[in-house]
Structure formats: C-alpha cells, structure tokens
Amino acid sequence: MKRVETVTNHNIMSKSLKLIIEALLFASDRPLNVREINACLPDETGSKITQALYELQTEYDGLKRSFVLREVAQGFQLRTRSEYAPYVLRMLKTSPTRLSRAALETLAIIAYKQPILRQEIERLRGVDVGGILRTLLEKDLVRIMGRKNLPGRPLIYGTTKKFLAVFDLKDLGSLPKLKEIKEFGSDEEETIPISEEETQMGTSEPKND
C-alpha cells in the first residue's frame, strides 16, 4: 500500500479504469486483449488500457492474492496461483489437463516447426503420429492450417491460440528458444531435467529412465 494522498481527477479516472478492466477480466472465461477491452471502453486509448493492465498485474502481486494476471495468447487472463491447484482440482472434481510424453513431443515439434506436414513430424519422431495428431486436434491444441501443394495435397499443421493459453505463452515468439544442435554435448542428464514436482502431482507422463 503506497500512496493514497491527493486524489486528482486523473487518479480517479485511472482508478476506475483499472477497476472496470478488472471487472471485465473477472467476468471473462478467456483471455482478453487490449483491442477487446478497448471495444468495451471506447473513450479510452489503447495505451492507457495497456498501462492499467500492467498496473493491475503489479497490484495483484503486491496484494498477494490467490490469483494473478497473466499475459497469455496475446491477451490477459486472471489465473489462480499454482500452489492452489490441489485444492481447486478437488473442488472441480476433474482430473487435470494431461498430455502424454508422446503428445508433448509431437506438440513441441509442431510448435517449433509450424507450418509442418505430418510426414515431417513422423520423420522427426521416428514413428507414426496419427493417433496423437488426432488427440491434439480434438483438444484444440493443434489446427489444420491448409494443404501443401505437393502430390496428395497433404495437410499442414500448426498450433492454436488455445495452445498458447494452455501453456502460458504470450505468443509463439515467447516459446523458449530451441537449443542449437551444436550445443548438445554428451551430458545428456543435464540438458533434459526431469521435474520432481510433476511426479508428485501425479501427471500421467511415463518417464523412460
């Protein structure tokens, strides 16, 4: 809690702007971007909205609430902090989002190599990916982008907006950088960390080693 002092007109305005934006985020079940928020607040400018969003972000962090404001899928979304996941899962009585290791690997290939053909994915993974592709399409993590002008007109795959939202990514540009192949040494163990936490959380991904 910092300043309260002089309540200038500007302060009142920006305070209410923040609260209006908070209300919008609060009432939305999907990330909202600045343009969408602006559509609800035609008298405001995009930059003022952006500023208010970042202020809200700082504010929630400062208030140490159970939720935070994340920038995902080119928009903003309120989300619970991860430490509350066990309780929320109990409340929702659902199993958490789960993807098998194979599905995650396939997704990673598509994310980095999109637009990509199925045969390229299969070359990289060394196995058939039909079933996995279907799962990813069904879960709306992967989409068909079109067809390639090749014999048989094969389908081209890419990731969806939901992929960004699910994996807490602002946009495709914020995907972690792919390591240069040269950088790979023999110290395998260090380059592929396995999270302990995940094992505790009971995710279904089988580890192979």
């Binding site: 994340r70 991860s82 958490p96 990673a108 060394g126 990514l169």
Partner: protein, 245 residues
C-alpha cells in the same frame, strides 16, 4: 555382453536409441555403433520373446544400424576426411529428437492451464438474438413450460387459458422480477407468480421471465428433477438490468 534392458514401451526407434546412449553414457557425437547396435537388436529380441509386436519403424532402424556398423568395419572409411562419418545418418535425427524431447519437458514444466493454474469459468450469457436453440440453461425450456403449466393448474383450477385485456406489460413484469431478485438474491420460480390473479397476468409474467433468461440476466436452476425451480440473478443481484450508474 552384459546388459540389462528394462522392458519399457519406447515411443519409437529414436527413443530407444537415445535410451541406450544415455544408459551407456556414451557421446552422441561418437557412438560406439557396434555396442549400441547389439543392444538395440537385443531389445527387439526381448520384445519378440514377450510377444510384443515390433513396429516396422523399429525394424527400419535396425537395418540402418546394421548398415552403419558394416560401413564402419570397412577399413579406412571412417578415418577418411573426404567421406562423411556413416554414423551421421543416425546422429542428426537423434540430435533433433533430443531437441524436441527437451522442449517437451520444458512444456510440461510450464504452468499448465487446468493442471497448475485455473481461470474463471464464468457462466456464459446467452447472446444470440432470436433462437432458443442453444440456451445456456441448466433446465430445459420444456421443463420450464411444464412447471408453468403445473402452477397455472394449481392456482387457477379449471380456468381456460383465454387471454383477456392486458393490464400488465412484459416490461412491467420484467421490472418486478428484477426487483425481487435484487431484494432476495434468489427466488423460487413459483414466487414470481404469487401476486398474479389472472391467466393473462400469469402469461405476461412468464414471458417476462423468458425474456430475462434470454437476455442472460436470470439463470434458472433446478437442483433435482423433483425440486423447486429457482431463479438466480446471473449477474450481481444489485444490478441485473445493467443500466444503473
């Protein structure tokens, strides 16, 4: 050769190869091809012993390995700078595969929606203008109409459903329902009819409710099929009609 292969389900030949390389703690840039090939084939044998169907992909890799191994045995072929190391044929895909395996790990460590973090799951308002085709209701329109009929039968037994001179407009009744919801937060379906005296008034009240449901301002809930239908404001009960200051 003294090695142990855990009978695991590998995702594919690359997955198995990578496992063998890690297990033997060898350099991926200098794979001891004979050892790895033997172990690879040993694993396939084991799969067969356990009657596990060996996919074609595994067999293709087996022949690739054998081919590389034989090339390596040819004198001078891997010493010669002019010629590419035969192992490059598997090294490149292995490196690429490792890259994506690592990324997959990185993905799985992120704060995944609906696993680690949760967003608001707001009950969506029904927005489309005309149709009742996709109502976001917890109760079907039929159930609602049925309940309405029951109340009419109960309250006005034997009355014919004839429409008389209308004293009440749908707008009046809409405001009344909103006022009640504001006051009480949630009310029973039958309560909104408690002051209705005529069939037409009933109908107007009912139409008002449908209107409110349609606008997404009221949500209709029926906890059990026998239970009383309840109405709750689907927005803040202090507002609801959405045009207060």
């Amino acid at each position: 050769m003294d090695y142990e292969v855990k009978l695991e389900i590998f995702e594919g030949p690359l997955d198995l190869l990578l496992h063998l390389i890690n297990k033997n703690e060898v350099d991926i840039f200098d794979i001891p091809i004979a050892t790895i090939t033997d172990q690879y084939l040993g694993y396939l044998e084991l799969m067969k012993t356990f009657n596990i169907n060996v996919a074609g992909d595994f067999l293709v890799m087996a022949s690739t390995l054998i081919h590389i191994k034989s090339k390596m045995l040819l004198p001078g072929s891997h010493e010669d700078d002019e010629e590419e190391d035969p192992r490059a044929e598997i090294m490149r895909p292995l490196l690429e595969y490792m890259q994506f395996k690592e990324m997959a790990e990185a993905f799985s460590e992120r704060e995944i929606l609906d696993r680690d973090v949760f967003a608001r799951t707001v009950i969506p308002y029904s927005q489309d203008g005309v149709t009742g085709e996709e109502p976001e209701l917890d109760v079907s329109l039929f159930q609602l109409i049925d309940a309405f009929k029951r109340i009419v039968d109960q309250r006005l037994p034997g009355t014919k459903l004839t429409v008389q001179h209308e004293q009440w407009s749908v707008k009046d009744k809409t405001e009344l329902i909103i006022a009640r919801l504001k006051e009480k937060g949630a009310i029973f379906f039958r309560e909104i009819f408690s002051e209705d005296r005529t069939v037409s008034e009933f109908i107007v009240t009912f139409l008002a409710l449908l209107e409110l449901v349609h606008m997404g301002l009221v949500k209709v809930l029926q906890p059990t099929s026998e239970g009383d239908i309840r109405l709750i404001p689907s927005f803040d009960e202090k507002g609801g009609n959405g045009n207060e200051s």
